[in-house]
């Protein structure tokens, strides 16, 4: 388990992380979300021992990264999509070999692992090609293989699929899910919220370094009032039909083009449709828009901005 208690990080007068309490258990993918500048990367860098917190405590599998950084580094790894993290003038295989040496991995373990990782990220054919000749996506895939070279107990993923082609990103998501199933603890930040919804059982949302909300993606959507939206197009919308629809529920809104819209925690599609038909309306279309995690994050961030303002 990775745990932080009252984690705070200041860069001079700027407070990047302000009192965060996180729990990242083994065997689960935990999400860390927020808008740009929310403090996600700073938090991950602290957990990865790259930065030291100003105050608060961090525990990685019972180890203190401040007092036992080398012991912590043996058990974690970091994959950051925004940084290259591999050597341009070395081949893919040479890069993995070199990082294997930095982790003191025995040769008989390292050699097959390099082959497995290259296969995992689809770079077996380019193992002997210098990274400077790789595309951005290939470089990122190699960086992912590097992040797995020490078979870490905890994996910190900062935008890991940034710049990846869809099939490779999909394969990486499978890998991440598989790592969690193997019992590893994974912390994930990503701008691709569908990816977070798919992978994360638990998500922390932060804004300006502060905790905004936590829960499963479904719980976050419920907490923020993000519900499914029903849009019914009425071809013969009249004042009478409008009045009936508006009387149905206080959340009903009328939109241009003869659209009656309802955003509600309960599924009232059938009842609203019946009301419209009974008042003489003719249906031209019915659309149901499911809420997304993105809506929840935006709602949380907007609230945070309102509080600051």
């Amino acid at each position: 388990m990775i745990e932080t208690v009252n984690l705070r990080k200041e860069f001079g007068a700027k407070v990047a992380v302000d009192g965060l309490n996180l729990s990242i258990p083994s065997g689960r993918v935990t999400g860390l979300l927020g808008l740009n500048g929310a403090g996600k990367t700073t938090t991950i860098k602290i957990l990865a021992t790259l930065l030291r917190q100003t105050s608060g405590t961090v525990s990685v599998g019972g180890l203190d990264p401040v007092k036992q950084p080398h012991a912590v580094r043996k058990r974690i790894n970091l994959i950051a999509g925004g940084e290259r993290m591999v050597y341009a003038r070395m081949t893919g295989r040479e890069n993995l070999w070199y990082f294997g040496q930095l982790y003191d991995i025995p040769t008989k373990v390292l050699k097959p692992r390099i082959g497995q990782l290259l296969e995992l990220v689809g770079l077996t054919h380019a193992a002997g090609t210098r990274v400077e000749q790789y595309s951005r996506g290939m470089t990122q895939r190699l960086s992912i293989a590097r992040g797995l070279i020490n078979d870490p107990d905890y994996l910190l993923l900062d935008e890991p699929t940034l710049g990846l082609d869809a099939p490779i990103a999909r394969d990486l998501r499978k890998v991440v899910a598989g790592l969690a199933e193997q019992g590893k603890g994974v912390l994930l930040t990503s701008h691709y919220l569908a990816e977070v919804e798919q992978l994360c059982e638990h998500v922390y949302v932060i804004g300006d370094g502060r905790h905004l909300a936590a829960g499963s993606p479904a719980e976050l959507m419920a907490q923020t009032g993000c519900h499914r939206t029903v849009r019914i197009t009425v071809t013969n919308l009249s004042p009478q039909i409008e009045a009936a629809a508006l009387a149905f529920d206080s959340r009903v809104r009328l939109a241009p083009g003869g659209v009656v819209e309802l955003n509600h925690p309960d599924d009232l599609t059938g009842a609203l449709t019946t009301t419209i038909i009974e008042s003489g309306g003719a249906l031209g279309g019915l659309e149901i828009v499911e809420p997304s995690l993105e809506d929840a994050i935006l709602a949380l961030s907007d609230r945070s901005l309102e509080v600051i303002a």
Partner: protein, 265 residues
């Protein structure tokens, strides 16, 4: 030591690919020009004669031999710092510093790997330089094999210590050129590579004492050009300063690395 060996191998691969032939041409030309210009200078300025004052202060009348040894030592120092001292800022520039720091490898074997490569590469350059010098009649005559080994080891330790400190300065400042070039100019002036330090004002001579390679150069001079043999006192000073710089560099390294990481966030 697998980290040191791996880093040495990595340096070899990268250098061979980055400078497939120009690096070695440059090395050859450096040796030719260093000795050639010293020879021409001696002929053009001094008419081929060495003053009694220079003989007294340098402990030798073989000016070209004096220059060859000084130039070889200077190459040793410069390349040691360029490879070892700049290693971390190169990681920062290449975007690999985070991946390096998050790995559990210690920095000592990592930097030793760079030093091993630097000293191996400079050995080739020094061999070329002395090959050129031999064409002008220079003969390298150390006072003993053990003396020579100890003198070079003292210089290597001094360079390593300076590199450890400079590495921190460079990554904290996020800039290498001012740090390295200032140091190169300062030691060229203060440490007795191309002229006897006795020509310097006393204040500059004392300033030079704070630089580990100054005492190491005195040892080199005694063994390779002065004919006075190994000076244990000056060797002890070089070793003590080299160790002190090394300790200071490694103690400050975690702080410097964190500052370097903070600058990018």
């Amino acid at each position: 030591m697998s980290v040191a060996w791996a880093t040495l191998r990595r340096s070899w691969l990268v250098t061979r690919r980055a400078y497939p032939w120009s690096y070695f041409i440059g090395t050859l030309l450096l040796g030719v020009f260093t000795i050639g210009l010293a020879y021409l200078g001696l002929r053009a300025v001094a008419g081929g004669e060495i003053s009694a004052e220079f003989r007294g202060k340098a402990g030798t009348g073989d000016y070209l031999g004096y220059i060859a040894v000084g130039a070889a030592a200077y190459m040793f120092v410069v390349h040691g710092i360029l490879w070892t001292g700049k290693a971390m800022i190169q990681e920062q520039r290449e975007g690999t510093m985070g991946a390096l720091i998050v790995a559990p490898a210690r920095r000592l074997p990592y930097l030793l790997g760079f030093s091993a490569f630097a000293f191996t590469a400079v050995a080739v350059e020094v061999a070329v330089l002395f090959g050129c010098a031999a064409l002008f009649g220079v003969r390298l005559a150390p006072t003993g094999a053990a003396d020579a080994v100890l003198a070079v080891a003292g210089l290597a330790l001094a360079v390593f210590g300076m590199s450890a400190v400079l590495s921190n300065v460079m990554i904290v400042a996020g800039e290498a050129h001012i740090a390295q070039n200032s140091v190169f100019h300062a030691i060229a002036l203060l440490s007795g590579f191309t002229f006897p330090r006795e020509y310097l004002p006393e204040a500059f001579r004392w300033l030079g004492e704070a630089v580990p390679v100054t005492a190491a150069m005195d040892v080199i001079r005694g063994v390779f050009t002065g004919g006075t043999g190994l000076d244990p006192g000056r060797l002890a000073v070089a070793v003590a300063l080299g160790l002190a710089y090394t300790a200071a560099g490694f103690l400050a390294m975690p702080w410097a690395e964190r500052r370097a990481m903070e600058r990018s966030y």
